[in-house]
């Protein structure tokens, strides 16, 4: 068996998941993992699939595109071979949450994420909340994995410095505190 990663992006409407998962089934794809997300009415779905050897990426893409057209769904499609392995596997990493808030402006996410990149820190989740309390304000929340080799104090200082240049107040906290405060562990 070979693995392909298939992603769909486009306007959300009832029946999107039903259609794309049905198409994958018709194309002989066994879905191994899936995630979907909605952002301001835009749908994004990623599927890791297993298919029989011999079905090429191009052929799969072609079949799925035809299916989408037939279903009249305006979705962008990407099919690519699935990479083996996950970043950080086998490396000791700690989960942190970085939040940055201030007046919304250009280049803020790029600036903060550049610091992460410089330190070899991986962003696992990024969300932006705009105009929640004040229409000009923005809050960015990064959930990151920090390798044990990273000096967290230095990372914190550089993030604060970068945030300052963009008018953002940055805080860095271990993820456990959010879970401890908000969740009751299942037993």
């Amino acid at each position: 068996m070979q693995k392909f990663t298939v992603s769909f992006l486009g306007r959300d409407c009832p029946g999107v998941v039903s259609t794309v998962s049905g198409l994958l089934n018709e194309c002989g794809c066994n879905i191994l993992a899936a995630t979907q997300s909605l952002l301001l009415g835009e749908f994004a779905g990623i599927f890791i699939t297993a298919v029989e050897e011999g079905l090429s990426r191009e052929a799969l893409q072609d079949s799925l595109e035809r299916g989408l057209k037939k279903a009249s769904l305006d979705l962008s499609l990407i099919v690519r071979p699935t990479c083996e392995g996950i970043w950080g596997e086998g490396e000791a990493c700690a989960p942190f949450v970085v939040s940055a808030d201030g007046i919304d402006g250009k280049g803020q996410i790029a600036g903060i994420s550049r610091v992460f990149s410089r330190h070899g820190v991986n962003i696992e989740s990024l969300r932006a909340f705009l105009g929640e309390e004040d229409e000009k304000r923005a809050l960015f929340v990064f959930e990151i994995m920090v390798p044990a080799s990273v000096d967290i104090g230095r990372l914190r200082r550089e993030l604060a410095c970068e945030g300052q240049t963009h008018g953002l107040r940055v805080s860095v906290q271990h993820r456990d505190i959010f879970e401890a405060v908000n969740r009751i562990e299942s037993i």
Partner: protein, 461 residues
Amino acid sequence: MLSDREVTNTLNMLRNEHLDVRTVTLGVSLFDCVSHDLELFIANVQAKIARYASHLVPICNEIGAKYGIPVVNKRISVSPIAVVAAPFGPEGMVKVCKALDWAAKEAKVDFLGGYSALVEKGLANGDRALLESLPDALSQTERICSSINVASSRAGINMDAIALMGQQILGCAKASADKDGIACAKLVVFANIPQDVPFMAGAYLGVGEPDVVINVGVSGPGVVRKAIDRLLQRGTNDKGEPLSLLDMAEVIKRTAYKVTRVGEIIGTEVAQRLGLPFGVADLSLAPTPAVGDSVGEIFQSLGLSSIGAPGSTAVLAMLNDAVKKGGAFASSSVGGLSGAFIPVSEDSSIEDAAARGLLSMEKLEAMTSVCSVGLDMIAIPGDTPASSIAGIIADEMAIGMINHKTTAVRLIPVPGKKAGDVVSFGGLLGKATIMPVPQGDASRFIALGGRVPAPINSLKN
């Protein structure tokens, strides 16, 4: 992935609502330091404290930074000095106190508690020496706190000790008259003192405790108030019904749960890093003079014009109980006092009510029957007779003894000041308007001495 609400709620608690770990307190037993030789005893004590406390402050700072939650104070509590230093007289006790002060400075902690005596049933030689030493000991040191347990529900009230404490509180005030009697702010008289309190000035390490242990005190009156305000702003409960006190109690309980979880996670990690057992998390709403970090403001959010107004005792009862319920659910290691403190000078809103005459000593005393401590940080006229101070202590101890709860008295008779004058202690101790004490003479009652017997446990009404 964390939900949006989880992230924003937690951030608000930390950034805008003064959530912090008020104290990580390292408890150190001194029983194995005992010696008949004063110098040897002092050397043993200082060596043991240094051995365990040298990494306390840096590790607390590191873990505070990791979670983004400041550990505001790092402190040490020790075995009752009246017991471990029993062979020494008052002068020896003062030397021990100074040695402890030096050890606290070396460890870079802000306070060390345990210059204490447990005298609810009688005064042993060491107890008497420690009580006699209090004015010199507390006025000649900076970081030492003292607690004297003079009553318990099992033993009754030691009125001889109370009479002596009335005099010694005045003695402490006189010895630190140049600093408005500040030595009294480091001295508390207790009934039913818990042996694992991490908060000062009542912290000491009891006889049944481990050799060395980490106890944590978390606070968060600002967090509780904001949670109530948010609920009020919403206007209805989860079912869309109009709000009632049940909803208020529920939101306080849930908030107390969250705050206690913070304390437990930090305390556990500090203990683990130091290779020590974790003792208790004490969730107590302990205010500071900062606006937004006040217990008194919670009373206003719950609909009273100020603390002291009719209804205050009921509000405090609900608040104290909801805090305990939330804390108990959050951790199996809840201990210490765990409730609400009402220290007058340390809470800007309570002090304001007292200054405007809306909160009297009598009302405070009534409120202490339902809160977790007692008459706390109250500045009184410097010429208050020792018998009146002893009488106030006796009243407060009676509340604790009969109700099987902790009560305490921390009064500061400010030399040269009279009712209505204002005194500033600085820092976390805040400022206070001198409060008048109840009129009348208690001297003959106090002079009787002896012991008020322990209460009966049946025929309760």
